[in-house]
Symmetry: C2
Subunit: 349 residues, 2 copies
């Protein structure tokens, strides 16, 4: 059924799962950024009508899931599993967000790489024949993340220029079994998942929690090189290579690391965190971050570009910094991880 264990970290699907629909719901600040016009919903109330930040983030997941289903033409009952995650301890944004949807559910944690991890697992489960349709989502909320990882918002702490701004947003996609590249319910899928490269934890003994980009850059490189090696390709294989949330500093490091490794990806490189905000006017410093950053940019901007044939093959690499206040306060480093997904234009008529 599948081409087995091509290299150590990559899987190439013989029957690539299709991305049937995608939905993005973001906050006001994201809506005011350069990609504002592309998101499905821009919610101006940062509380989303709820009582606290965590409930607000849960509401992002509920809305994005509901909207992805609506756009797919499927019903809730057609979805076999939910793969979802967020940045909060014990994944509460996800749990409370999907509880009422009553899906058999897999909680996933990969810091800001969660969308890549969940899409990798979801794709294997679909291509392995265990589900016709699964829902995959990742969310973050600026205020719930600041509360979890930084300082109380009321404290108004200063942020160094290397810091990123956690995106308030959720991206949600439906992955569907590919039955001969046919349309599903008359709908043309947005893209197909041609393969995945699963990341390993890369620890650079990096201890600056206000410079996540630097903590993740080497993990991004590790996964990109594993992908090139496993597939026997170089950067020219992809029209676009897109990381999750390295930001300005992580971007520079990744590009420099890769040049030293013999690959110049700059002309085809993009980072979701850099695209989503306009630092000059939005005071976001190094860029956007959070699981919801790459997930919402994927759904709002990347997938439509692939659907429209602007890009035919994209390496999408959500990047995660495995930060915890507990381990960090105990003097531990912030290791990184990055999970890649190969997205291609769908051949459906």
């Amino acid at each position: 059924m599948n081409e087995k264990q091509r290299g150590k970290a990559s899987v190439i699907f013989q029957n690539p799962p299709l991305i049937l629909s995608a939905a993005s719901v973001v906050g006001k600040k994201e809506g005011e950024g350069p990609l504002g016009q592309y998101f499905d919903q821009v919610e101006v109330d940062s509380m989303l009508g709820k009582k606290n930040w965590e409930e607000a983030e849960s509401e992002l997941q509920t809305r994005a899931a509901t909207l992805a289903i609506e756009k797919s033409g499927l019903t809730k009952e057609d979805i076999r599993y939910y793969f979802g995650g967020d940045l909060l301890a014990q994944l509460i944004a996800t749990s409370f967000g999907v509880m009422n949807l009553e899906f058999p559910m897999f909680g996933i944690y990969g810091a800001c790489s969660t969308m890549g991890e969940a899409m990798g697992l979801g794709s294997m489960v679909v291509e392995g024949g265990f589900a016709d349709h699964v829902l995959v989502a990742a969310s973050s909320h600026f205020a719930s993340a600041e509360k979890q990882f930084r300082f109380p918002l009321e404290y108004g702490n200063q942020r160094p220029y290397s810091a990123t701004w956690t995106v308030t947003g959720c991206g949600s996609v439906i992955l569907s079994a590919n039955d001969g590249n046919k349309r599903i319910n008359g709908k043309k899928p947005l893209a197909k998942v041609a393969g995945v490269t699963t990341g390993k934890i890369v620890d650079m003994a990096f201890k600056d929690s206000m410079n996540m980009g630097a903590a993740m850059a080497m993990a991004a490189m590790d996964t990109i090189l594993a992908n090139f090696r496993d597939l026997g390709v170089n950067e020219t294989y992809y029209d676009k290579i897109i990381t999750g949330d390295l930001g300005q500093i992580g971007r520079r490091l990744l590009l420099d690391y890769l040049v030293k490794a013999g690959y110049d990806i700059e002309s085809r490189y993009m980072d979701c965190g850099i695209e989503i905000f306009r630092d000059e006017t939005q005071d976001t410093h190094a860029g956007g971050s959070g699981c919801g950053c790459s997930a919402s940019v994927l759904c709002a901007y990347i997938l439509p570009q692939i659907r429209d044939g602007v890009w035919k093959r994209v390496l999408f690499i959500p990047t995660g910094a495995l930060l915890s206040t507990v381990s960090y306060n105990e003097g531990k480093s912030v290791p990184g991880i990055a999970h890649a997904v190969i997205l291609e234009k769908c051949d459906c008529d």
Copy 2:
């Protein structure tokens, strides 16, 4: 390849993944309990030679993984993916525990149901043809869990009788592709994974964080009933039905709920949390809990019983209470989730 979507929540494997090896590493108190003789390693130093509780828990994962590989006759390079999780925020016990093993890694969060969730995903990935061998693990540590969820140990807070005692332990199994029920490396597998039933979140609006058993009992019932319904069987299909950590109160509730639903499972029922401690002398109250509870009991006790033919078919259902101090302090309930795995005696000669 697979029998597709049998019912809504269960998958039956046509080519059941084999459990090639299993390892358990636990703390002193667990070693003094009724199952003490069965664990591979009983570590008397609750710090495992490390500087803090979190590092101690990471060490449990490192040791259990290393031992499982050793017992399998495989090398580290044969393992394609690591599926692991723990109870701590941002899965730090897992991340720091497996970092140096350098596996492509999937972080999983399902509270104390994590071993069931990870085995379900690992089995699908193996049976789908994406890996020959994967490592699946879950850990907990009494002191890191108390620190995360309760009070400082130094405070010496009183625990109600409904409370459970978090197990210090890790269980780790290697799931291997089944090539015609043959031995692997000359080794006879411990058992096979015949199928899985993936749980959904069940919220009973239950708000007592010191009575996890009650919070999880309905989730356990929901998954057990889904399993019976999907497979068209009743309790007599299994020699043993084993929950993760419902404890004495959750046990009673589950048995009562199931009787009302028309199933009397009591004679074949067991709960890992009740088995692992002897409350009369160990002061553990309702039983053991934590991801490491069901995971270590599975590896040390359940799998050998299946290997030896004492039980031929077991429904193993790790149960999780989706507790977070953040959501709890905001007045939210503690929803439950339970993920079931059907374990059968291996037909290998």
